[in-house]
């Protein structure tokens, strides 16, 4: 590109300053490099705990105690991981976590979109009240329901069962809110046209509304999976024997139990808990960040 091609643009009528040929918000290259440098430093600091967790999980117990800040293991060992897979039943914990998460996600996708459709596109007595209740429950702290929920679950004899881990999260107010907000944006004429053609509500819901709901369903699926995978307080209370532990519960009980000083084991466990979800996140990162922006912008 030559200067002569560029010049007329810079001298356009309206007399814009030449500097504005670079988009506003873009800094001269010196500043840009500084920003890059600062961002690189910040991201290294942010990710450092994960890096250290990975490398240290291959250290021997002795090395961790001798040199707690060392970056790389002097003689790497699989010992810590081997213990999880042979002496501790990590396959079972993993299976429990996956089972609970998958069922919870499915329940939320189906039930929240159903009630979302009713709230967004149908008229019925009690609609406003239902929506207000959903909104109130959006900000109910978890500890408010903890005690009565535990009393309830023990009264119906569900303590230490899969239903106890799953049922309380099978539908969430946030899911209802998300689906309702999105479905409000689906044009009414689309639904009316189908209705005039003789389609019932169930068919409209399944054939017209749901196919349009890809983005909020992805958002809801991701948020629910994340919440379930990392959920800690309720499974800690509701799961009482090892065969019902989820990964975080198992890890937490080992960190406070008799293995509390086996640091290598705990670090390897942390990698096993964090690893799958970080991998999933990196693969699906676009949907993840979209989903956060979606709940924010509503």
């Amino acid at each position: 590109m030559t200067i002569s091609e560029d010049t007329p643009l810079a001298l356009e009528p309206g007399g814009r300053p030449v500097a504005s040929t670079r988009p506003v918000g873009r800094h001269p290259s010196g500043t840009r490099w500084l920003i890059y440098l600062a961002l690189v430093i910040a991201v290294v600091i942010t990710l450092f705990p994960f890096f250290w967790m990975m490398t240290s999980s291959f250290k021997t117990q002795g090395e961790i105690l001798r040199n707690p800040t060392g970056l790389f293991p002097q003689d790497p060992t699989w010992e810590n991981y081997a213990t999880w897979f042979t002496q501790l039943d990590i396959q079972k914990f993993f299976f429990n976590s996956v089972l609970v998460a998958v069922v919870t996600v499915l329940g939320n996708l189906v039930f929240c979109s159903m009630v979302g459709y009713a709230l967004a596109k149908m008229d019925f007595p009690g609609k406003r009240l239902l929506f207000v209740l959903v909104l109130i429950c959006l900000m109910t702290p978890g500890v408010v329901t903890l005690v009565p929920l535990f009393v309830l679950v023990s009264k119906i004899g569900l303590v230490n069962t899969y239903p106890a881990l799953i049922l309380p999260f099978l539908t969430t107010p946030l899911g209802v809110f998300l689906m309702r907000q999105f479905m409000m944006g689906i044009p009414d004429p689309l639904i009316e046209a189908a209705r005039i053609d003789g389609a019932g509500d169930f068919r409209i819901f399944a054939r017209i509304v749901i196919p349009l709901c890809g983005p909020p369903l992805a958002t809801l699926g991701i948020l629910t999976f994340l919440a379930s995978w990392n959920n800690f307080l309720w499974p800690l209370v509701a799961a009482q024997s090892e065969d019902k532990y989820t990964l975080p519960v198992a890890l937490a009980l080992y960190t406070t139990g008799q293995d509390a000083t086996d640091y290598g084991l705990l670090l390897a466990g942390s990698v096993l808990v964090v690893g799958p979800i970080v991998l999933l996140f990196v693969c699906l990162q676009r949907f993840f960040t979209q989903s956060i922006a979606a709940t924010g912008v509503k």
């Binding site: 942010t46 009630v115 005690v147 009264k155």
Partner: protein, 315 residues
């Protein structure tokens, strides 16, 4: 709305009465179908959410304990004495100050860090933007229990943080065993774990600000800082407030960090309201736990209400 567009509404004369009746029947039918759609949710919601919320409220006016679970005949109403006891319990007062400390310091700090990251990512850099975004967001998706294992090492007396501080001549404290420094350590962790969410939200808000506005400011001779302060920040206000609401609902429930890191100690210096509640539950004092949780509930509701008002007033 759908009811106004039913075919019956356009008819007059003799047919009217019949049609209105038909439309009423149709409406009732629609009401039934709508409730069928809502049924699975309503059932789960009523049993696992509404019922616990209401019974927690009722329980907070009784002397319910773990011994009354199987046989509730001995439970008596005690009025507001659970609440009165709470406010005369120094540990509960302590837990309120701890929670307030966490909220008052943690929220602004998280917001400032997230805003700086969002502005940096929005400042015209294109290369590696996704890498940065993923990097800053990664702590959000990870389990607190796993994170705690690592952070305990980082924060211990001869750990990474103090080693780094030592390079610049600072003799770092024994973070988790110090009544002064345990809370700052919790707050650092919380900022690290929550900045990603806000960064994404702020980034979306920044990208919604039209370029023309900033160009106009640049032409009028505003420098970057003035333009940021006078234009970007005011336009970002709704997004900032939304971030504040989301954070305050979460931060008021402050529980997991101390639970896995310090068990509320040393000397209750990290004992939050949620943690206090959880302890009462553990002691079997279910009514006390319910009352404490309701105080927290009211605090969250009030703070959200105030912030929603502020959010709406400028829109």
């Amino acid at each position: 709305m759908s009811s106004t567009t039913t075919p019956a509404s356009a008819v007059n004369g003799a047919g009217r009465v019949v049609r209105t009746k038909a439309s009423r029947a149709r409406r009732r039918r629609q009401g039934i179908i709508a409730w069928l759609f809502a049924l699975p949710f309503v059932l789960g919601f009523a049993v696992f959410m509404l019922f616990p919320i209401v019974s927690s409220f009722v329980m907070s006016f009784t002397d319910f304990t773990s011994r009354d679970v199987q046989n509730s005949f001995a439970v008596a109403f005690v009025g507001v004495s659970q609440y009165a006891d709470l406010f005369s319990d120094p540990r509960f007062i302590k837990s309120m100050t701890v929670t307030a400390y966490f909220v008052v310091v943690g929220i602004p700090l998280t917001m400032v860090v997230a805003l700086i990251l969002a502005v940096a990512l929005n400042s015209g850099i294109e290369k590696f933007r996704t890498v940065f975004r993923v990097g800053f967001y990664t702590p959000v998706v990870t389990s607190i229990v796993a994170i705690a294992v690592v952070w305990k090492f980082i924060l211990q007396d001869n750990g990474l943080l103090n080693t780094v501080l030592g390079w610049v001549g600072i003799d770092g404290p024994n973070w988790l065993n110090s009544t002064t420094w345990a809370m700052p350590a919790m707050i650092i962790m919380a900022v690290w774990r929550n900045m990603g969410t806000l960064m994404i939200i702020f980034l979306a808000g920044l990208q919604a600000i039209p370029q023309e506005v900033k160009e106009a400011a640049a032409i009028d001779g505003a420098n970057a800082w003035t333009s940021f302060r006078r234009i970007t920040l005011p336009l970002l206000r709704p997004t900032l407030l939304l971030g504040a609401v989301l954070l305050s609902v979460g931060y008021l429930q402050f529980f997991e960090e101390p639970f896995v890191m310090t068990k509320g100690g040393p000397l209750d210096s990290t004992l939050s309201i949620s943690y206090y509640t959880f302890n009462q539950f553990g002691f079997g004092k279910y009514a006390t736990a319910s009352a404490a949780s309701y105080i927290l509930f009211v605090a969250i509701a009030l703070l959200s209400l105030v912030q929603f008002r502020a959010l709406r007033s400028k829109d």
